[in-house]
Amino acid sequence: MSLLEISGLNLKIGAADILHNVSLAVEAGQVTAVIGESGSGKSMTAYCVNQLLPRGAAAGGQVLFDRQNMLALDEASLCQMRGRDIGMVFQEPMTALNPVQTIGAQVAETVLIHGEASKAEAKAIARDTLNRVGLPEDQFPLSRYPHELSGGQRQRVVIAMAIALRPKLLIADEPTTALDVTTQAQILELLKRLVREEGDMGLLLISHDLGVVADVADRIVIMRKGEVVEQGTTAEIFAHMKHPYTKALFEASSHAPERGDNAEEVSILEVADLVRDYALPKKSLFGKAPKFRAVDGVSFTLKKGESLGLVGESGCGKSTLTRAILGLEAVQGGSITINGEQVRAGHTVPRNLRRNMQVVFQDPYGSFNPRHKVSRLVAEPFHLLDDAPKGENRRLAIAEALMAVGMHSSDADKYIHEFSGGQRQRIAIARALIINPELIILDEAVSALDVSIRAQILDLLAELSDRLGLSYLFISHDLSVVRAITDRVMVMKSGEIVEEGLTEAIFRNPAHPYTRALLEAAPKLEEMLQ
C-alpha cells in the first residue's frame, strides 16, 4: 500500500476538463516528481490531494492518502490533515510568508493550529525545525522577519513550516523556480536530505524542469494536457522514453538551434569602464546619501553578427547594465560606443544611436499595453525614426515584421490577450525587428516560456540572426540556454564581469571559482542521459 495513491482522478472546473484519468503513487520515503508544461494539470493534481481546489471544481475518482479517500472527507477533517499530515511548499517564497510576522511565529503557528503543543513547546519545535532546514540559531533567531532573509532562506522557512509537524507527505509545487541556480541546487539538496532523514516521508515534487528533478526523483510522472503520458522509475524513464511526448520534452530541454557563424570583425557595441551607482536612502538628514554600485567598471565589445551571452544571478547588475546600454538610465562613469559613436557618462544616448538597438523582455504578459492592438504595439519603435512609414507602407512593414517571426499578417488587428505566451514573445521580437536594428538585447527573453516553446523561439532567434545579420546580447540565468545560443559569454557577479571568453571554452574549462560554482549548481540533464 502506497502512502498516496491517486487512481482514475478526473477534475472539472466549471465546464473545463482539467484532469483526465490521472493515476500515480507516492511511496513513503520516496520522491515522486510530476513534470509537465504549463496547463498540463500538474499543480491541480497536487491540489486535489489536500483539496485546495478553486471554487467550482468537481473532482472524481480516488485519492487515497494513508488509506483515506481525500475526496470523501469533509472540510473539518481536511483542515486537521493539512499541515499535520500533508505539508506544502509553494513556488514564490516572497509571497508565501507573512511579512509582518517573525519567522519563528510563522513556523510555530503550524504547530499551534493543530493544538499539538503548548506555546513554549511550539517555539522549541520551530527552533528545531529551522535548525534542520539549515537556518542555525546564532544567525537566524526566531525573531527574524522575512524581509531580512534572502529568497533561498525564505524558501527554507517555508519548508520549515511545511515539515514542522513531521507530515507523512510533503508537496512541493515548483519550489525552486523563483530561485537562482546556486540557491536552487541548495534547496533541492535540502529536500533530498529531509526525505532521507525523515525516513517515511513521501515527497511529491512538481516541476516544469526535467533537469531539476532528474537528480532528486525516484519516480517520474510526465503529464500533458491533464493526462499522464508516461511514468516509471527515473532510471526507466531516462533509459527508454517510450512516449513521443517524453522524447520531445527531453529534446526541447536540451535544444540547441543550428547557427551559422556570422560574427564579423566590426564591433557594433563597445562598453568601456561603465559605472552605475544608485543613491541609497540617507542615513542622516544632512549627510551624503550612501551609494550602491550596481555596475562596477564593466567593459566588453560586441561584434556585428555575434551572439554574446551575459550570465549572472539575480542582483548581479545585469538588468541595470541593459538599461544603461539602452540609454534608459544615466551612468556615472565610462562610455558606451555604438557603431563608432561614443556616448560618455553624463550624456544621453541620442536617437540616431537608439535606432540600432531594441530589446525583448522576459515577461510575455507584462510587455504589452493590454489596451492597444498588435499593429500599434508592434509599430511603437517607429517613434525613433524621423521618416516613419505611413498608411499603406506602415501596414506592410507591420505585416512583414509579424511574418518574419512566424505570425500571420492578420494578427495585427487583434488584441494582445488573444495570444499565448509563446506567440506574445514572437510579437515582442517583431516589435524589436520592425525598425531593422543591428543589435537586439534579449533580457531573459525565453526564461518564462515552456521548454517546447523555448526551443521554437531559440530556433527563430538563430534563423533571424543568420538571415538578417543581427547581433544579440543574450542575458539569462539559464546556463543551458546560453550555451545553446551564444558564441561568447560573460559571467557577471556583484556588478563586475568575472570571466569572459568563447562559450564552449568557458563551459568546458571555467577559470573563475564563481563560474565553476554556477556550472556545478546547474541541473545536468545531458549527463543523466548518458
Binding site: 534608459l328 530589446v359 523582455f361 499595453n369 489596451r371 511603437e380 517613434h383 525613433l384
Partner: protein, 277 residues
C-alpha cells in the same frame, strides 16, 4: 462591457435612478408642471395631491417643479466639480508619477496634502466669504477638493504601471514621459478614474446640498435641494412633505450613483469578476 454592466442588478438599479434624475433635470429646461418662481400664497403648504404631486411650499410654489429644477443645479455642480478634479488632478498625478521621487513629485503631492488637510466645507466658506455666495463659487470649492482625490488616485495607479515592461518598451522606442503618460498610463487607469468619478459625483451632490443648506450654494430664486431642506426646517412638524421630497431626492441620487460606482468597481476588478461567474 456595457452589456456585462447591465447584467449586474446594482448597476441597473443605480443607472435607472440616475437616469430618472438626469431626465428630470433635462426636461425641466423645456417644461415643468408649474413655473418654479410662481409664488401663490393662497395655495401655500398644500400636501401632495392631484394638482401638486409633491405639494406646495410656504410660498405656494410647486415642490415637484422645484425638485426637477433642483436636480439641474445639483447635477451641474457635481459634473463641473468632478470635471475640475479630473482635468487638474489627473495630469498632476501623472506628472508626479512620471517624475517619482523628484522635487516635482514632492511639490505636487505635498500641495495635495495641504488641500486635503482642509475640510471641503471650510474651503467653501472661505471662498464664499471672499467672493460671495453663489453656485459658481460652490462649484469651485467642491472642485478644488476633488483635485487631490484624483491626483493621488492617478499617481498610485500610474506608479505601478511605470514598472511594467511595456512602459520600458515604450521608453526604448524613444518616447518621452509625457507621451508615455497619456498613451500608455492613462488608458490603463481609466477604470480607476471612472469608479472614483461616480463616487466623487455623488459626494459632489451631497456637498452642494450641504453648502446650499447653510446658504453658501445656489442663491434664491434658483431652487436647490439643500436649500429646500433648510427652508422646510421650521415647518417640518406640520408640513413634513417639505423636507421629505428634497431629502429623498438627495438620498436616492447618491444611492444610485454609489450603486453604479460599486458595480463598476466589481466589473473592472478581474478578481471580483471571476468570483461572480
Amino acid at each position: 462591457m456595457i452589456k456585462a454592466a447591465f447584467r449586474m442588478p446594482g448597476f441597473t438599479i443605480g443607472f435607472v435612478i440616475a437616469f430618472i434624475f438626469v431626465g428630470a433635470a433635462l426636461v425641466s429646461f423645456l417644461w415643468t408642471p408649474y413655473p418654479v418662481d410662481g409664488v401663490d400664497i393662497a395655495n401655500k403648504l398644500h400636501g401632495p395631491d392631484a394638482t401638486n404631486w409633491f405639494g406646495t411650499d410656504h410660498l405656494g410654489r410647486d415642490i415637484f417643479s422645484m425638485i426637477m429644477v433642483g436636480a439641474r443645479t445639483s447635477i451641474a455642480v457635481a459634473i463641473v466639480a468632478v470635471g475640475i478634479g479630473v482635468v487638474l488632478g489627473v495630469p498632476l498625478g501623472l506628472a508626479a508619477a512620471s517624475k517619482k521621487g523628484t522635487l516635482l513629485d514632492e511639490f505636487i503631492m505635498r500641495g495635495n496634502d495641504l488641500i486635503f488637510a482642509f475640510p471641503a466645507l471650510l474651503i467653501a466658506i472661505l471662498i464664499t466669504a471672499v467672493f460671495g455666495a453663489s453656485a459658481v463659487n460652490a462649484i469651485i470649492a467642491i472642485g478644488i477638493f476633488n483635485i487631490p482625490v484624483f491626483a493621488r488616485l492617478s499617481r498610485g495607479g500610474a506608479l505601478s504601471l511605470w514598472t511594467r515592461d511595456f512602459v520600458l518598451a515604450a521608453r526604448v522606442a524613444g518616447k518621452g514621459r509625457v507621451r508615455i503618460s497619456f498613451e500608455h498610463i492613462l488608458p490603463n487607469i481609466t477604470n480607476l478614474l471612472i469608479v472614483q468619478g461616480t463616487i466623487q459625483f455623488s459626494l459632489g451632490i451631497l456637498a452642494e446640498a450641504a453648502l446650499s443648506y447653510v446658504g453658501l450654494g445656489a442663491q434664491p430664486p434658483i431652487p436647490s435641494w439643500g436649500r429646500m431642506l433648510a427652508d422646510s426646517q421650521t415647518m417640518v412638524s406640520f408640513a413634513p412633505h417639505l423636507a421629505l421630497f428634497p431629502g429623498a431626492a438627495i438620498v436616492l441620487t447618491v444611492l444610485g450613483l454609489n450603486l453604479m460606482g460599486d458595480a463598476l468597481r466589481d466589473l473592472f476588478d478581474p478578481k471580483l469578476r471571476r468570483d461572480r461567474q
